[in-house]
């Protein structure tokens, strides 16, 4: 059952990102783990692609503990915005730690720096996990400005983006505004399958 759900999510994301430069994924909190697993499986199955994964939700260490292949896959680099604040910063070649999720300009720089390390001819993808968590640490206005810049920069460099927004009751107006900056919105529902 779980595999069907994950395969379905993987297919939806793969199809959407093929046809659109940027996609926003709105999902209920209890589908978060499935969606992340679907994204990681997609990354693992396409080693010639270049992926940068920004996490503001779960520490890099916890993600790689669950999905061990991520620490050795060469086609993914992580930017972890939350571990440093928690006192964790185990140096590894495929992760960069940002001191705080408030350092948005630094985050923007590191995203672009990471892509420079990949083969310039590879198809490039960025995952922002997640807009809703960035808003926890920052004022919504600055996240909006950051996201505008990011979307413009990635479009100019032909980088496909997947931005996640975890749906809560009465999702903030700001998240709604932000997510609609994407070319395509995917809404994941509990009743998806």
């Amino acid at each position: 059952m779980a595999n069907v759900l994950i395969d379905g999510l993987k297919e939806r994301i793969s199809n959407a990102i093929k046809m659109n430069q940027s996609i926003g994924v709105v999902l209920p909190g209890n589908n978060y783990s499935d969606l992340v697993q679907a994204i990681f499986e997609r990354i693992h199955s396409e080693p010639e692609e270049a992926w940068v994964y920004v996490t503001v939700t779960k520490p890099y260490e916890s993600l790689t503990r669950k999905f061990e292949y991520l620490s050795t896959d060469k086609n993914i680099k992580f930017i972890d915005c939350i571990s440093r604040a928690a006192g964790i910063s185990k140096e590894e070649s495929n992760v960069i730690y940002i001191e705080s999720p408030t350092m948005l300009e630094k985050l923007g720089l590191e995203i672009m720096n990471n892509f420079k390390e990949f083969d310039p001819n590879a198809n490039k993808f960025l995952v922002l996990d997640s807009l809703s968590n960035l808003i926890i640490y920052n004022d919504p206005e600055i996240v909006t400005e950051f996201f505008y810049h990011l979307i413009n920069k990635t479009r100019a460099r032909d980088i496909h983006t997947i931005s996640l927004a975890i749906e809560e009751e009465g999702m903030s107006q700001h998240i709604n505004r932000l997510i609609y900056l994407n070319d395509k919105i995917l809404k994941v529902r509990d009743s998806f399958i």
């Binding site: 001191e99 705080s100 408030t102 350092m103 948005l104 300009e105 630094k106 923007g108 720089l109 720096n113 640490y137 920052n138 004022d139 206005e141 600055i142 909006t144 400005e145 950051f146 810049h149």
Partner: protein
């Protein structure tokens, strides 16, 4: 306007090698300029200067770093953590690190207090070293600490103007670091250093949700059609100094 642009295009530029800074400078610092690098303690003045010097050496431009604020072993130890730092450039003499306190001692000067004659002797030495090494890039870290050793405001004023004339004659592109108190938008301790400078780089910070974000602003650069935007400044061991436009909602 067209004429002005063509004059700028003809000017020789000293490329800092810090990508976004060179873009803001419209190519680089006009060669022969003296630039004041202003900031409080820990703002990144020394790192910026060292990266500028090392990037120059990598392009074949010899440089000299005069320090009066920290001993050489401490300076090099701090720089060893950066990927841009290359020990071979020091060993080959492309980058020269000189402790001004040692020079003062060798000249028999009181290292804590300078008289008019002492200051003048020191200036001559700076000029001689720069000439002899044929340097294209020169750093004094810091002008504030140097002036601190002078006894009166008149002496400081006189020294700074003489330094300005000496630097102008040296034909090398100079960065002078200037220490200011944190969160104060002032360029110098003595209020005069900025007048001998052709350019000013202001390194500051802003507070965001309790975190300090480093900032950089190119306040002035004579002879360059430069940007004046405020940037966020990142310092990392891998890339040294990098700039990105500061988000306006800060």
């Amino acid at each position: 306007m067209q004429k002005e642009e063509s004059v700028m295009a003809d000017k020789e530029l000293c490329v800092t090698g810090i990508e976004e800074l060179d873009i803001q400078l419209a190519g680089g610092i006009p060669t022969g300029s003296t630039v004041l690098v202003v900031g409080s303690s820990g703002s990144g003045k020394t790192t910026l200067c060292m990266q500028y010097l090392i990037n120059g050496a990598k392009q074949g431009e010899r440089g000299v770093f005069f320090t009066i604020t920290e001993p050489l072993f401490k300076l090099t130890k701090n720089m060893e953590g950066f990927d841009f730092y290359d020990k071979k450039l020091i060993e080959s003499g492309m980058v020269n690190l000189i402790d001004l306190r040692i020079i003062s001692e060798r000249l028999g000067l009181d290292t804590e207090k300078y008289t008019v004659d002492d200051a003048s002797a020191l200036l001559d030495i700076l000029r001689d070293i720069a000439d002899e090494l044929n340097v294209k890039r020169l750093i004094i870290d810091s002008i504030t600490a140097l002036c601190y050793r002078l006894q009166t405001p008149e002496l400081i004023r006189d020294f700074i103007f003489k330094l300005g004339s000496s630097l102008a004659a040296m034909k090398c592109t100079t960065l002078l670091t200037s220490e200011v108190p944190p969160r104060k938008f002032q360029y110098s301790q003595y209020g005069i250093e900025e007048f001998i400078s052709d350019g000013i780089f202001f390194l500051g910070d802003i507070e965001r949700k309790g975190d300090l974000i480093r900032t950089f602003q190119l306040v002035k650069m004579r002879g360059a059609n430069h940007s004046r935007i405020k940037s966020a400044m990142s310092i990392s061991s891998k890339n040294g100094i990098e700039l990105a436009p500061l988000l306006k909602s800060s």
